[in-house]
Subunit: 423 residues, 2 copies
């Protein structure tokens, strides 16, 4: 039993690749293996699952995010399949200095109708928080900056990552795709293109193919591979000497259910969106808050810089009290006393070169990774590019009809705009 395409990883990237491979040609036999018991249980499930269309400075990232978000909206609106998408908006709070670095792009995006720029005076009428910290020594020590601007991203919000994964799973199954869960891929099998029957094949001078994977449940063979193993991708590729220029960092989410009137009032902040809820809010410090409408909870997280590359994805409660709470409460004193109700962690697969995703093909193997924390919101586009590479198509058709070169996200000779909207 040799599949046409074996996909390592049933996270959003692997699912979107499988879905698009089958969409283009339902005759293709597709097998997805994952170490978890169902789809989207790795970093996909651990994500804050925010989405933003347009709100990138890299035109490539803009294209990937716009078309993917449009595809998800299409599923939710036109197909009537609930993905739990909440268009609550992104509210990116910035100090004057920070704003100046991105003012050009922000003004262009405002003209395009993708965002609205709020000045401090307007914000103050809408959102109860501390805006100024001049003379506050503790704030200075904590790196807390003034809030002078708010960039409000309109086609932005969050999605239910589980529901999106289940959508893909069900469509993939309908089209005949297979899943093999609880299956941990230990090694990618390398074989010579032409077997000679000599010892120690493949020799270094033999052309190779990647013919399957060794797992805890035996060997699975395939004519083509897609490696979409998220934070574990580089570990799988290192033995092959293939660099995906991406490495994993832990990202943690801590949730808190409001206990006081003031806290509930913050959660249900009016004036930004129809839902009457606090938008997905990014502080000048790199901290962010998601107000979950259905659950009625705050989600807190922080994209810190100095953090080891590692596949350790255990959440640490101490991290919240050391690194998140003191800053959040500076901006929102009403959160005083907010303790952790729940927590989890996943991995960002960070491409340090330009923060655009990384998708490329070597021999019969496609690698899709490096989404740097925005794998879900660019997932559909990444999956289409991976599928185009599987079929050796020079261009991928993105949702809505736009085309992108299948080699646009290649490692070798990479020259993409560096993404400046990293929150």
């Amino acid at each position: 039993m040799e599949a046409d395409v074996l996909i390592v990883g049933a996270g959003i990237i692997g699912l979107a690749a499988a879905y698009n491979i089958l969409r283009i040609n339902p005759e293709t036999s597709v097998l997805i293996v994952d170490r978890m018991g169902d789809v989207g249980q790795g970093s996909t499930a651990k994500s804050a699952a925010g989405f933003r269309a347009e709100l990138f400075t890299s035109t490539t990232n803009q294209m990937l995010s716009n078309t993917s978000v449009d595809f998800y909206l299409h599923i939710q609106k036109d197909e009537g399949y609930d993905l739990g998408m909440e268009l609550v908006g992104y509210l990116i709070l910035r100090s004057r200095d920070q704003f100046e670095g991105i003012a050009d792009v922000a003004n262009i995006l405002e003209k395009k109708g993708a965002l609205r720029i709020y000045r401090k005076a307007e914000l103050k009428n809408l959102l109860k928080m501390n805006y100024e910290f001049d003379g506050d020594e503790e704030a200075e020590v904590l790196g807390v900056k003034n809030v002078d601007y708010g960039l409000f991203g309109i086609k932005c919000g969050y999605i239910d990552a589980d529901k999106l994964a289940y959508y893909y799973r069900d469509r993939i199954k309908e089209m005949g795709g297979d899943f093999q869960f609880n299956t941990n891929v230990e090694r990618i099998i390398v074989e010579p293109e032409v077997k000679l029957g000599i010892p120690r094949e493949p020799r270094a001078w033999q052309k190779v193919r990647f013919t399957g994977v060794e797992t805890n449940r035996g060997v699975f063979k395939a004519r083509n591979l897609v490696i979409a193993a998220g934070g574990w991708t580089n570990q799988l590729l290192d033995p092959l000497g293939i660099d995906c220029i991406s490495k994993p960092k832990k990202r943690q989410i801590f949730t808190f259910r409001p206990k006081t009137e003031d806290q509930r009032a913050l959660l249900y902040t009016k004036g930004f969106n129809e839902e009457g809820i606090l938008p997905f809010t990014f502080l000048p410090t790199g901290h962010y808050i998601r107000a979950d409408r259905r659950d009625g909870t705050f989600w807190f997280s922080y994209s810190d810089e100095v953090r080891p590359f590692s596949t350790n994805d255990e959440p640490e409660e101490k991290y919240y009290y050391d690194n998140i709470y003191p800053i959040i409460v500076k901006y929102f004193p009403q959160l005083e006393g907010a303790r952790v109700d729940n927590m989890w962690a996943g991995l960002y697969m960070i491409n340090s070169v330009d923060h655009n995703p990384v998708v490329f093909k070597r021999s019969n193997m496609v690698v899709a990774t490096g989404a740097s924390g925005s794998g879900i919101l660019k997932g559909d586009a990444i999956g289409r590019i991976a599928a185009a590479l599987i079929y050796n198509e020079p261009y991928a058709d993105l949702f809505g009809g736009e085309k992108i070169s299948s080699n646009k996200l290649e490692v070798v000779g990479r020259s993409l705009e560096v993404e400046k909207f990293v929150f």
Copy 2:
């Protein structure tokens, strides 16, 4: 005792950085630590130490190599310090197909006087080897291609890596630089810029500095660091979450002393250079041969693609018989029976994006790596860029007066011409 600059690694890159830091300002206190007992004993000593000026397709690589080779020639000629440089030339043998891919650049370089293009008919008069393999099934299996062209690089040859390292060591000592050998760096120390005296510093929101290293011989502190640890650089940086987009691959050298008249005749091939010796010769397969004039030996090696990223640098005799000998002897039947006299292995630190070196600064730490096997021949230029970054200079002065932006080899937003002359 806190040095102004602590350099991790006494290979060519670390030495060139130290030398240039002291050359620019001899008042700077410089300490170089290395796990070996003397300078240049890691991959520097294990290198084939070939050098080529101009023979790159990336204009950045051209600049780095030209100025570095000129600096070494200056030492040897003007300072009268023997670096064992032998200008025997590079002979890059190519099939018609291979040549067509680089014909444009080759023609430009020929017009510049940097190389001479030999056609097969001319080569046949100079070099006794097999040129055609049509109908040879074994050759086809081995990936052996016809030899149709020879690109002869003029300002090319090899250098004595030990002598170059000793040159740098002696100049560094004269200028007051210190060495700490037999010292294995285990960890880079991260401290907050402003210490608060709270537990678990640095917290994720604190700005950090890299204040020294932990080693098997204790802690060494410094105001600035240069990480030039070759194939071990990424291991040192991973705990800091800093990606140098370079990973190590083993490269092995096997030597053979000619035993027959025909073998000696090949070693002392006339007509290419004044030395009357076989040039540094690159076969169409990725194998290469260095004829060592002083030692009277052949050095054989192979830059294979599919090889794990790993710091394993043990040579494997079997590798020669499996992967080198069968190909070499196809081209040069006179090497029939050539057995291994000596062997060793070192690490190439491969930047898969563009095969240009990687030099960048984070806080007070400079990283210099990713030379992808040409660290020696670009070492002087890389050292000058590292020194410029230490002094926060926007440009580095290369030997001969040319300037290069100190951020040219930065990881973030990287957009360099991909190197096509990878032999």
